[in-house]
């Protein structure tokens, strides 16, 4: 059986715990209940967008468009609520659809237009931010709808709403990746697209679907962003795509595709947010935060690349008999 909770979770979980312990030891206020719940609210948006980023990475793609798409979607949502008189109950599903359609377009260009996803979504990163600025003369739109805020700040039985979203979407994603035909096909496409073609998997379709998922999850993130600040702004979501990718990578998803566990992405997101929180509490300037985020990404990718060496080293340390064989994955095509 493919295990949902497998050994791939140990590393990211350990990283999360170690980081949390370090921050807790160095910062008094870290364990305050207020701070912890704030931390949780903070992680929710990144962690939800990271689901999409991870699924794209599983299929050996990359999505750089999320941050700009969040900005654009908050502006569209603001436009709908404030100026077009569309009710919230209708606006939210519409935004989800719009996000999915954006993802669909990016996916079609990537898969059928044969343009590498790095380029497609880099172009979108630039263009969608520009598109966001065309709304409301490039100014943020505030005070959208009083009913918007409870979506983010509300609680059911004392549990903050984002916890339910996280539970629902991570549960759905974990189920899909581990127990469904689609999930298996995504891993297959990421693992070896040429072999996937010869086993009858519709590779282009699967690749496109991963981008639809990413667009949809970005829309979920955008709605929460709007709800959190009761506004829309063309400046929202800066570097959010990088944080999402970092969450996936810290969670152990291989950028080469085909390997990783979606639940580990949540731990990756937690790790990053705990570090940011620790820096915040110690009044570190945002410049330092960016430097640290950069280093975390570098370290996480390094761990991915040096995996063979690390596991050999671990095997030696643990005194197990066999040296782990290096995986012949990297192609020198």
């Amino acid at each position: 059986m493919k295990r949902v909770f497998d050994t791939q979770l140990i590393g990211p979980f350990a990283a999360m715990v170690i980081v949390a312990v370090i921050v807790a030891l160095t910062t008094d206020r870290f364990l305050n209940p207020g701070n912890l719940s704030n931390l949780f609210l903070q992680v929710s948006i990144v962690a939800l967008i990271a689901i999409g980023a991870t699924v794209v990475i599983f299929a050996a793609g990359i999505d750089l468009s999320a941050g700009s798409m969040v900005a654009l979607l908050t502006m569209i949502l603001a436009q709908m609520l404030k100026f077009m008189g569309i009710p919230l109950v209708l606006a939210i599903p519409l935004i989800l659809v719009v996000g999915g359609v954006f993802g669909l377009v990016l996916g079609l260009i990537t898969a059928y237009g044969r343009i590498p996803s790095f380029i497609t979504t880099l172009a979108a990163l630039i263009a969608l931010r520009g598109l966001a600025l065309t709304f409301n003369n490039g100014s943020p739109i505030f005070s959208l709808d009083p009913a918007l805020e409870p979506i983010f700040y509300g609680k059911i039985a004392g549990i903050p709403m984002p916890a339910f979203y996280l539970l629902f979407f991570y549960g759905l994603a974990a189920f899909t990746m581990n127990f469904t035909k689609l999930g298996r096909e995504i891993y297959a496409v990421g693992g070896n697209p040429a072999a996937a073609v010869l086993t009858g998997i519709n590779v282009k379709k699967v690749q496109t679907i991963t981008f639809v998922v990413a667009g949809f999850m970005t829309a979920v993130g955008a709605i929460l962003m709007s709800a959190r600040l009761n506004s829309g702004s063309p400046n929202y979501g800066q570097t959010l795509e990088l944080q999402a990718i970092a969450a996936a990578v810290v969670g152990g998803a291989s950028l080469a595709g085909g390997r990783g566990n979606i639940l580990a992405t949540f731990m990756g997101a937690m790790t990053i947010v705990i570090v940011q929180n620790g820096l915040n509490l110690n009044a570190a300037p945002s410049s330092v935060q960016n430097i640290v985020l950069g280093l975390i990404i570098l370290l996480a990718v390094g761990i991915d690349m040096w995996r063979a060496e690390i596991s050999t080293l671990m095997a030696r340390i643990l005194g197990r008999g066999k040296g782990a064989e290096a995986a012949p994955r990297r192609k020198e095509a």
């Binding site: 059986m1 493919k2 127990f179 469904t180 035909k181 689609l182 298996r184 096909e185 891993y187 297959a188 990421g190 693992g191 070896n192 040429a194 072999a195 996937a196 073609v197 010869l198 086993t199 009858g200 998997i201 519709n202 291989s254 595709g257 085909g258 390997r259 095997a315 030696r316 008999g321 066999k322 040296g323 064989e325 995986a327 012949p328 994955r329």
Partner: protein
């Protein structure tokens, strides 16, 4: 023709090398004489690669003595090996595809002026001289990546000639070569032998070994089971020494073909080069496609499998015309393709055996898109047992498995999908003799169950022995079909060769 001197050029005495948990070389002795071609044989995992690494200075042995012209030496690193005149041609070439042939030949020791400026004229002149000496006609300005695999191999050997190597190690030199390219390589090796070069020749292809090797050393489980110096080369003995038991028939062919035609190609053509060809396949039959590299065998396979669109003709399955727009159509109609290069487009290295075996049958394994993982594990377990695949495959991703086990897993995929017609493209390439025989037995098992097989193989002995009929392919079309029993090795070579044209490389080679 073997000995010019009585002192061996190199003598490796009691070389041992252990990796964590496994003794890869256990007191291995090899003597390499100048002017002699020495075969190093053994199944995968027998310690050949370890030995090659020691000889070429990549690693140090744990114990043992290395004698060069009778004097003990240490081969400290690859550079030291080069200084001793040892050149190694690894299976994966170290050619830089974007550089010219001349640059490749002198890569790492380019002649330079005092100011560090590369002397291009000298490079190309010297490279041309080396190639002329080898009797090879490749322009030194040609970009290495544009050459055929066989030519790249020759450039790789030219590097050895350029440093004036006294000993050259060839690791599976013919794995990617066509028949006449192999012949060209052998001619070159014979010429080098005449000049006194010691050659260590590592190969799985026993027919070749018989043709070119002067003496053999056979390894099994890290030990020498048949020592050098015995000059009589007998394939049957070699096989039993390698496998460790008398395997009886090397090609255990069963006759399972019936008269019932299950599949027909009628005048099919594709843009990839299949030229209006027709043939039929019978129930339980093995139809061998013979021909040189580039003759269009792989393209015919792609046409049948729905990968390349037909521009003419039709396919008839069980009497009814069928149209495959993509691979999944062919798969659902019961056709399977085991591709030539299992690493490139056969296996999912991120999956364990289960994911690999069920990859082509996910639709049948799922209900409303949800996979029946229990059924998957059960089927995998059974197939691993039936095909005698390493049980490690249940727990570990398939990159940890040997080539033979990997190939069995690719075939198991199509047993699980219950394919009726299997196209096997070079199914035994690069796997050891024990695994080859297992694949042959599997072919028997399949045909016995009424399945039909289209076999593509560059190993002519294998093709002749395992096929019921042979279709000779030239220029993308089947020229004639003859019972395999009526063809000999030479007939097949002659029939498939076309003297008028030099063969082009297969696009997917």
């Amino acid at each position: 023709m073997t000995t010019q001197a009585d002192t061996p050029l190199w003598e490796f005495v009691d070389i041992s090398k252990a990796y964590p948990g496994v003794l890869a070389n256990d007191k291995v002795c090899i003597r390499l004489m100048p002017g002699s071609i020495h075969g190093l044989l053994g199944e995968n995992g027998c310690g050949k690669s370890t030995m090659i690494k020691t000889l070429s200075g990549v690693q140090q042995p744990d114990s043992g003595t290395i004698l060069h012209n009778g004097r003990p030496v240490v081969i400290a690193d690859p550079q030291a090996a080069r200084d001793f005149g040892i050149a190694t041609v690894f299976q994966e070439f170290s050619i830089v595809p974007t550089l010219s042939v001349g640059e490749n030949i002198y890569l790492g020791n380019m002649p330079r002026s005092r100011f560090g400026i590369v002397n291009w004229r000298k490079i190309h002149a010297d490279a041309a001289a080396v190639l002329a000496e080898m009797n090879v006609d490749i322009p030194t300005e040609a970009i290495a990546g544009s050459l055929s695999v066989g030519e790249q191999q020759l450039v790789e050997i030219a590097k050895a000639v350029a440093i004036n190597a006294k000993m050259i190690i060839l690791d599976e030199p013919t794995a990617a070569l066509g028949e006449d390219e192999i012949e060209r390589l052998h001619q070159l090796l014979r010429a080098m032998r005449k000049r006194g070069t010691a050659i260590l020749y590592v190969s799985h292809r026993l027919d070749e070994v018989e043709r070119i090797v002067d003496e053999v050393t056979i390894l099994r489980n890290g030990r020498v089971v048949r020592a050098s110096g015995e000059t009589e080369i007998n394939v049957a003995q070699i096989v039993s020494a390698m496998v460790g038991e008398d395997i009886g028939e090397h090609y255990p062919k069963e006759q399972n073909a019936s008269d019932e035609v299950v599949f027909e190609a009628r005048g099919i053509a594709t843009r990839a080069g299949v030229a209006e060809t027709s043939f039929s396949l019978r129930k339980g039959e093995v139809l061998g496609l013979g021909g040189v590299l580039g003759s269009g065998r792989t393209e015919i396979a792609r046409a049948i499998f729905g990968t390349d669109e037909l521009t003419a003709g039709e396919l008839v399955l069980n009497g009814a015309p069928v149209r495959f727009r993509r691979e999944i159509d062919a798969i659902e109609a019961g056709i399977a393709l085991v591709p030539e290069n299992r690493k490139y487009d056969g296996l999912f290295f991120n999956f364990r055996a289960s994911g690999n075996i069920t990859a082509a049958s996910l639709g049948g394994l799922s209900r409303f898109g949800v996979l029946n993982l229990r059924a998957e594990e059960r089927a995998t377990h059974d197939l691993i047992r039936d095909l005698e695949i390493s049980t490690q495959a249940e727990e570990k991703t398939v990159n940890f498995l040997s080539g033979g086990n990997q190939q069995k897993i690719v075939i198991a995929r199509w047993l699980f999908s219950n394919a009726q017609i299997l196209i096997l493209d070079e199914p035994t390439q690069g796997i050891d003799i024990g695994a080859k025989i297992a694949v042959y037995k599997l072919i028997n098992q399949l045909t016995r169950a009424g399945k039909s097989i289209i076999l593509i193989s560059s190993d002519h002995d294998e093709l002749l022995a395992m096929s019921d009929r042979i279709a000779v392919v030239q220029h993308g079309a089947v020229r004639r079909i003859v019972p395999a029993s009526e063809l000999g090795h030479d007939d097949l070579v002659r029939a498939s060769a076309d003297p008028a044209e030099t063969p082009k490389e297969e696009a997917f080679a």
